[in-house]
């Protein structure tokens, strides 16, 4: 049944598949492995030529130093967490009803609205960055988490609407009809019937939005100075300042990406399915 089993005979093709997979997995994973490995090696091992990776040198010193000395990293993590959590919560609260309305209720020109929301996802950040910077400066909101939370809605809200709309389109109409027969209003039907069965896609959308916000760099760069600095800025600054302390740099990077990588691994199937459905259903 397999596509790649060709006329060369199954054995040759199988060997080809194994080699191909090995190459692909190695190329995808080797940099990550090196990230982890260099974060637990002391500086002396790293600047050896070639690097001395034997496990007798393995140590957590880099992590201990980074967590002890760089208070900015802790603050960055906290800022990133607050910004990502709030913007995700607001995006879900506003996006879920909107997605439901576009999928199941009647909205004037809903086709155009859906396309418009899709199109916002294509918008380059720079196209809105300059005016946003001007307005936010005038309001005195530069270097506040509030500004980031609002600005991040610009890409999170469309993502959430998309992923959830793709799911709501597939909810069997019988459910809603049964609720209507029981006398439930539309809002109650949404709240009591539809939302509870939508937990997996809601999680997928939330994880997607959270990761995008946690990782966002460009707006954070122009809209924050110090107090509201998020973790990507801290890492970028760190890499500029201590660019010769390789092990510590990598330890800081590992700490900064660990939370979202865990989330991504936990929700991987939902993320890919949610994204693919939203993308391809249009």
């Amino acid at each position: 049944m397999s596509l790649l089993r060709s006329s060369f005979g199954p054995r040759v093709a199988d060997a080809g598949v194994i080699v191909g997979l090995a190459v692909f997995v190695t190329w995808s994973i080797a940099p990550i492995a090196w990230l982890l490995l260099s974060s637990i090696l002391p500086q002396l091992s790293l600047i050896d030529q070639p690097p001395d990776i034997s496990f007798v040198h393995w140590t957590l010193d880099n992590y201990i130093t980074v967590m002890g000395s760089a208070a900015t990293l802790g603050r960055g993590m906290l800022n990133s967490f607050i910004v990502a959590a709030f913007t995700t919560a607001v995006a879900l609260a506003l996006g879920a009803p909107a997605a439901y309305a576009l999928a199941r209720l009647s909205v004037p020109r809903s086709g155009a609205v859906v396309l418009l929301i899709l199109a916002t996802q294509m918008l380059p950040a720079i196209a809105i960055a300059i005016p946003l910077f001007i307005v936010i400066s005038r309001l005195g909101l530069i270097d506040t988490r509030f500004a980031l939370i609002v600005v991040y809605l610009s890409f999170n809200l469309p993502i959430v609407i998309w992923i959830l709309r793709g799911f709501f389109l597939g909810v069997p109409a019988g459910l809603e009809r049964a609720a209507a027969v029981d006398g439930a209003g539309l809002i109650r039907t949404f709240w009591m019937i539809v939302l509870p069965i939508s937990i997996p896609p809601l999680c997928a959308a939330a994880v997607f939005a959270f990761i995008e916000s946690w990782n966002e760099f460009f707006f954070a760069l122009i809209l924050t100075r110090q107090n509201a600095q998020t973790v990507p800025l801290v890492i970028a600054a760190f890499a500029g300042q201590y660019q010769t302390v390789f092990g510590q740099m990598m330890a800081a990077a590992v700490i900064s990406v660990a939370p979202v990588i865990l989330l991504a691994i936990l929700f991987r199937n939902h993320i890919v399915r949610g994204f693919a459905d939203g993308m391809l259903k249009g």
Binding site: L3, S6, A13, D14, I18, F24, W27, S28, I32, W34, S38, I47, Q49, P50, P51, L94, P97, A98, V107, P108, S110, V113, L118, M122, L123, P124, A125, I126, A127, I128, A129, I130, P131, L157, I161, R177, A180, V181, G183, L186, N215, F218, V231, P232, I235, A236, A239, Q243, M250, A253, S256, V257, V260, I261, L263, A264, I265, V272, R273, A276
Partner: protein, 323 residues
């Protein structure tokens, strides 16, 4: 107009006779519409405020000469001059060239490698769950952390790439990977391809798994070879997925910023300045806001055309073609 319609919404109004069967009643339709508008409006208002307004403002800014003095903005109208100046601007031309090369390379490599990887993953040897866990990691890793990691890997003196290539005998002496414009741009491209491929592969995999198995069985009965099955079953079934991936990846490649900022800052000799980075530099480093907005609008226009293309491509897939 919207407020007038909102007046119809009375969600807690005593429910009328429960409806059985398809909703045909006028009042039920009205309620569906009322609640629909109620549900959609907040999200649309927010998007209009944080997207609609800045886009319009950006279009206006690009027509102005903006001078910053003692914390105030002085603007005066200069029409198309900002755009006209770009035409004769060497750094804009270079950034445009870099962007086109980068986007082309990115789309071609990501699509072909992603599709190839998806085919491998769809094979029975590739279905192991652990592979999927590994492949989501490059997608989830922050672009900044990724850039920092590669800065270390590509380090000219202690970088592991040099060490590995030298121990394999592929290079005689260490290479300064980011030291020459063309080489630096190529590596920037490869790093971004590395990060983008796994997720695209997973998307293609989702598409592959939606192809009805019966098509392959029929092809085998007709005596189709492996290549023929790929050419006449897989590729046509994936057509819309592939086109959408191509368009989206192009749009995404126009947005690459973090990588340039951390890895090269546009150097050497502006060899890795992409349009996005140029707009940032002109606006926030050179404080030439009008000109920066003009560059941003060029990127916006390119993305807009691609977005229209995307929407247009999406139409046939709605009519039931396998995605």
């Amino acid at each position: 107009m919207i407020t007038a319609k909102l007046a119809v919404v009375r969600p807690d109004a005593p429910s009328r006779a429960p409806l059985a069967g398809p909703p045909v009643s006028g009042t039920f339709e009205q309620r569906r519409r009322g609640v629909g508008i109620l549900f959609v409006t907040p999200a649309l208002l927010i998007l209009a405020a944080i997207l609609g307004y800045p886009i319009l403002r950006s279009l206006i800014l690009a027509m102005q000469h903006v001078r910053l003095a003692s914390g105030h903005m002085h603007v005066h109208w200069i029409g198309w001059d900002n755009y006209i100046d770009l035409i004769s601007d060497g750094s804009f031309a270079l950034a445009l060239r870099n962007t086109i090369l980068f986007s082309l390379g990115e789309v071609i490599l990501v699509t072909t490698i992603g599709l190839g990887a998806a085919l491998l993953l769809n094979h029975r040897f590739g279905r192991h769950g652990i592979l999927r866990i590994l492949l989501i990691i490059p997608w989830a890793i922050a672009p900044v952390a990724n850039a920092v990691l590669w800065k270390w890997i590509l380090n000219a003196n202690y970088g592991v790439l040099n060490a590995v290539l030298k121990s394999l005998g592929l290079i005689d002496h260490y290479v300064v990977w980011l030291g020459q414009p063309v080489r630096a741009l190529t590596l920037l491209l490869l790093v971004d391809v590395w990060k983008s491929v796994p997720f695209i592969a997973l998307l293609f995999l989702a598409g592959l798994q939606r192809i009805p198995k019966i098509l392959y069985r029929a092809a085998i009965l007709d005596g189709a070879s492996g290549w023929q099955r790929f050419r006449f079953v897989t590729l046509p079934s994936l057509r819309s997925t592939i086109t959408i991936v191509v368009v989206l990846q192009t749009i995404w490649s126009l947005r690459v910023f973090d990588l340039v900022f951390v890895l090269t800052r546009g150097g050497p000799a502006d060899g890795t300045v992409l349009l996005n980075f140029l707009a940032y530099r002109v606006t926030f480093n050179f404080l030439n806001i009008g000109s920066g907005a003009a560059i941003a609008n060029v990127i916006f226009a390119m993305s807009f055309v691609l977005a229209l293309l995307y929407i247009w491509l999406l139409q046939p897939s709605r009519k039931g073609t396998t995605a």
